[in-house]
Symmetry: C2
Subunit: 425 residues, 2 copies
Amino acid sequence: MTIIEAAKKAREAAICLAAVGSDEKNKALMAIAKALEENKEAIEKANAIDRVNSEKEQVALPLLKRLKFDDAKRKDVIAGIESLCNLEDPVGKVQLRTELDTELILTRVACPIGVVGIIFESRPDALVQISTLCLKSGNGVLLKGGSEAKETNRILFEIIKEASLKAGMPEGWIALMESREDVSAILKLDKYIDLLVPRGSNDFVSYIMKNTNIPVIGHADGICHTYVDKEADLDMAVKVVVDSKTQYVVVCNALETLLVHKEIAPFFLPQLKQAMDEKKVKLKGCARTREIIEVEEATEEDWQTEYLDYMLSIKVVESIKEAIDHINTYGSGHTDCIITTNEDTAQTFMMLVDSGNVFHNVSTRFSDGFRYGFGAEVGVSTSKIHARGPVGLEGLLIYKYKLVGKGHIVEDYASGDKHFTHKKL
Amino acid sequence: MTIIEAAKKAREAAICLAAVGSDEKNKALMAIAKALEENKEAIEKANAIDRVNSEKEQVALPLLKRLKFDDAKRKDVIAGIESLCNLEDPVGKVQLRTELDTELILTRVACPIGVVGIIFESRPDALVQISTLCLKSGNGVLLKGGSEAKETNRILFEIIKEASLKAGMPEGWIALMESREDVSAILKLDKYIDLLVPRGSNDFVSYIMKNTNIPVIGHADGICHTYVDKEADLDMAVKVVVDSKTQYVVVCNALETLLVHKEIAPFFLPQLKQAMDEKKVKLKGCARTREIIEVEEATEEDWQTEYLDYMLSIKVVESIKEAIDHINTYGSGHTDCIITTNEDTAQTFMMLVDSGNVFHNVSTRFSDGFRYGFGAEVGVSTSKIHARGPVGLEGLLIYKYKLVGKGHIVEDYASGDKHFTHKKL
């Protein structure tokens, strides 16, 4: 089957899937969870082959780590599927009901987007996670994984496909693309694919965002900031900044640049340096920072760098305004935090910082679908439309308007014979 | 000021505008309405110049029609602004509130998208309509009108700008681009513009959609269908089809292709032909249509054509399935209707037709923001994400997540010392 044939088939299947009931979808999800458990040896075997091959090909360490699909990962995705079953089915939810006139009723109803393309580097768990989210939300799905996870992806795909078809899902709702050429082919399929979800490195996601007309949900980088205000509680500031930077350094919601008000900097920075030295975090600072603590010089490039490592850039600012401007200039619109005891200052910061997640007195590491209580997560979006921040099931839905009448025509309203009532129901 | 400077300035202004209160925005809107009324002679003069020049340059008739900004148009846009003032301010609306843990509160709040780029052919009323919608929703706006409406656009822009700045809106929130080169420049400004709203012909909107990475709200074509089911009420079917086709032929929600079930075709088509002959609508039909009524042959090209004229293509279908497949293949996802007395058949049609507006027993001409009761309208969207169908104020909004705590760190949850409560508030 060519990629266009698969896409066409997914489109047809998606139209059927949109009409499948909640119980049937949940049964299919449970069948997938069961099949994943039953085939655990085969999955581990396939994953071992991928890992041996990737080590031979000297794949980068972070990729290798994410490639692992062991007992813990399998249990995680199965638990994810089970919690997905318990979520309310969002399809068919009535969002609005208006009487336009007597016996002329408008309804807005949530419905699936259509066909979702998922492109991911390593992370075979993302394949299971996002395709089950697509099933629950009634969307067809085209999967394209990296060659480093070829064997794992293939077996996971086969398990999901067989279990779901046996449970009555429409044939073709899920398809796997394997050749290297397929990525660029997928990016051109705007006629068949309604939404792309790329999961992988900054460069990888950037490339996809720049090379397609299909809408994309995701984020390329996550340059997150914390601003320590002049009215901050120093102990809290140190604790939160250390967690934001070091709790897990390779992720998009880890802290990369710290902004400190000039009035508090002389007291805060020495205390912070001590805590960061203990965690072996390398600090870089602006000229004013370096007057207070001994650190390497931070340059313009540092403000634009997502380290994803035990490194932190620091800038001393004149005012909250300078902090907000810096964040809106260099940030990714991902997650930015203020540490202050002043409520008004916090309000201003959270209003004016143009990011999907704006925090007050908490670690940036909280910005995540699971921690937000969304159950399952499509990804974190730094887009300004459709879905922003951690995206759950909702991000895979849109709506349609249904209008039901008794032969109503527009001419009667244009001529003034009839009038709209526009009554909310 | 270069276009990039204007865009940067709009971005800065938009951040301030996002924080402006409802009363101040409404005052600015009323000031704009007043200024439009006070300057009516100057506006009419400018519009007369544009119309004379356009006639000289033999601009196409539909464009010339839309160029007109007379007393009626001015009154319409002023009434529109007044009704906009009465709409609830959507900015700041709380969409979700969850306690993640004790004193750790997550809130999702509606906020403006940022900077909206409006590109339009003729239609100076669209300039007023959409820029006041942007003001109400707290978005900065970059305007680019066609050269044929240069004088009208300039004076309308000056009036809106001056009245709103005097009323305290942030400088730079609105800017007008005039040179021909600016369209392609605007399409590349994805760093500064968050959303594009193109208004104009099919080709014009298609060009914009294909040549930018900025998200676009709008529709290129509107190939709308009505399917007359075997269980249709014949008189109602004729009445609704005539209205759908002829009530106003040059618009996107006018009917272009009629699908008729084979069992009802011998009774329905002769009756329809008589009604359409009276309205001077030229009919084209498939082979089976031509066995019943004498009309010109419809070819594959007709199913793909938006006539925007007194023309209608007709196809006799075997079943509702063939009708749905035809619509999902050739339609624009705009507006499609079924005429039937059978509720179940109607439900199936409305579930499986993948369009923003799916109708039962009513004219396709109803799919419009004003008729839906949205007050003001950004446009009709055939996109599958963010906003679909007629788009009101809501389409210019997104949300941000605000998380407020007391020094909460993720490590406490990762270590198992603390647990999330995820309580809906």
